[in-house]
């Protein structure tokens, strides 16, 4: 067993994500969260493994499905939820919504909505860290779909050429929206092996097994931080709910109920909680953790719901840094 405090921390981080995401799914039909929202339920372990292995000062960047990465890196839940509710207390003051999250206090620089868009930006973060001779690294979260974008090859290539402190974190959840890997990449390709062909060392790990994933993330981060250049870590996992929105969609025909159930049986959160229980973490301690997180999440939703909307005049501020320059 890992260090108990660490194990409980990993469970706690996963549970927080699960509870926040379930909370969103439950409330989404109320129509108060009026933006496209991509839930991470089922993928918590991959995010937490890397998020917990990074230091707070390390930088991270992500994609449209970023809730888990933001929270795992230490981003504040109330500010994230307020952002999704479009409130002025949101992490982007209501400008970004679910797909644009940031918490600089946690080193979570941002997430962006266009597939592949944040890969070069994360690579640029790594360049800045190298130029400043920092020991920090930049973690770039993305999905299997991103590895089909030109921006991925361009970013990976530059990171290799310049030996940048960049960790490429690929969550392979088998689907890009509703398109399975089989129609997107040749049969038999293993993404992490392909990346080795580019010249970047890589590894693959079960992204639903937090202990294994955490160990792999620690090794990958050690590689990057020690100045050996970029590293590609592939984590296999599965998105439980629809691509965008709160519902289950196994009935619409792009994947099977059987496939979903097989992955659900490997629930990264519940399985880890059971493992910790087996390993002697007292039931009362786990129950207390649930109680504490339930209260935390409820308070975060209350913060979001009761926060004010931004003033309409904020619609056209911050287009430029220079206040003298009007938008038109």
């Amino acid at each position: 067993m890992m260090d108990k405090a660490l194990s409980v921390r990993l469970l706690r981080d996963m549970l927080l994500i699960r509870k926040v995401e379930e909370g969103i799914a439950e409330r989404y039909p109320q129509g108060k969260m009026r933006c496209p929202t991509h839930l991470s339920i089922g993928q918590e372990a991959a995010a937490v493994a890397v998020g917990a292995a990074l230091e707070t000062a390390d930088l991270a960047i992500s994609t449209h499905r970023a809730h888990a990465h933001y929270l795992a890196k230490g981003g504040r839940a109330p500010q994230m939820l307020a952002e999704i509710y479009g409130k002025v207390t949101g992490c982007c003051r209501g400008r970004g919504g679910s797909m644009h999250l940031t918490d600089r206090t946690a080193g979570f620089v941002g997430s962006t909505a266009i597939v592949g868009n944040s890969l070069p930006i994360g690579t640029g973060l790594a360049l800045s860290l190298q130029l400043k001779k920092s020991r920090q690294i930049a973690a770039i979260f993305f999905g299997d779909g991103c590895t089909e974008e030109g921006a991925f090859y361009e970013s990976a290539n530059f990171a290799i050429v310049r030996n940048l402190p960049a960790l490429f974190v690929c969550e392979n959840n088998l689907y890009s929206v509703y398109s399975p890997l089989s129609v997107r990449q040749p049969a038999g390709r293993e993404i992490y092996k392909m990346v080795q062909g580019l010249g970047m060392p890589s590894a693959i790990v079960d992204g639903n097994d937090i202990d294994a994933a955490y160990a792999a993330a620690m090794a990958a981060i050690e590689h990057v931080r020690s100045g050996k250049g970029p590293f590609f870590l592939e984590l296999t996992t599965y998105r439980w709910r629809e691509h965008c929105g709160p519902n289950f969609d196994n009935d619409i025909g792009y994947r099977t109920e059987e496939e979903f159930l097989a992955w659900k049986a490997r629930d990264p959160v519940a399985s880890y909680e059971a493992r910790l229980q087996q390993q002697g973490v007292p039931t009362e301690e786990l129950a207390a953790l649930h109680t504490q997180l339930d209260a935390e999440v409820l308070a975060a939703f209350e913060f979001a719901e009761t926060s004010p909307f931004p003033d309409q005049s904020e619609a056209f501020s911050d287009v430029y840094t220079d206040k003298e320059v009007s938008p038109s």
Partner: protein
Amino acid sequence: MSRQITFAKAINECLHQSMAEDPNVIVYGLGVTDPKSIFGTTAGLEARFGKERVFDMPTAENAMTGVAIGAAIEGIRPVMVHQRLDFFLLAMDQLVNGAAKWRYMFGGQDSVPITIRLIMGRGWGQGPTHSQNLQAWFAHIPGLKVVMPASAEDAKGLLAASIFDDDPVLFLEHRWLHNVHGDVPETLNRTPLGKARLVREGDAVTIVGMSYMTVEAIRAADFLSNLGIHCEVLDLRTIRPLDWDAVFASVSRTGRLLALDTGHATGSVAGEIVARVAMECWGKLKAAPQRIAMPDFPEGTSPALTKGYHPRAEHIVDAVARMLGRTIDASPLGAQRGYPHDVPGDWFNGPF
């Protein structure tokens, strides 16, 4: 102290002095460290500032733009260069979805101080994809600044302002200007973005120019001046922000507007100027506003296809004459040029 140097040398000098002034300024782009050093504009930078701050790059225009964004968010001031604007079109995602939006999208907490130098060709076989002047595209995007110097002095001063500006700036260099000489201060001065330059004063017609078209506007204005017709020539310097106050003030004085553009007519900056002047200065106008821009079809490669394609001083004179109801023979302007129609002067022998 100032002395005569070329536009290209002014850019080179600006890069040297900016990098010396601020260790966070870095310069990269395809060819930056090669023997031709981007028409001489990046000469000596690598030797002086080292391979970390000055480097050639992979042929990856899109990602390398994102790299600039990421570095800029963390305090670096990247200056990126493309030998033709047309190559940069691969980077529209990073430019439009990334650089332009970042500050707004994340609630105003981070700025993206990047400068992207884009060189635009014209004539001498540059053809459909080495000659595009797409300032109107860029100016359409909130969050971007668009700079188009016309003189050597402005090349230095506006580039310095761009590098030290906290927002993303597209710095558009016309290839026909690289060899233009002018008085340039030895010191590094920042010429404010958004302030037009009054190049010639007059009362007949306001000619609004940008980049290379300002050069043709000055030729036309000086020709007309000898005939007793004094035009006001306003060099925009920056397309966004655009100095509307200067445009409206000048048109209010002259009552006539001729807007020039180095890009295609439809959807052009000149079209926007005509529209805004019609809206804001209607009561002061003595004639319908006019514009001269590139035709609405691509530039052909063969010199036979580019005859008459590019607006020159004689076309400006013709337009001014029509607005004033005068008949003026502008043909001496063309006859004065002792070189082919598709080059800026004897100095340009291609290939690029």
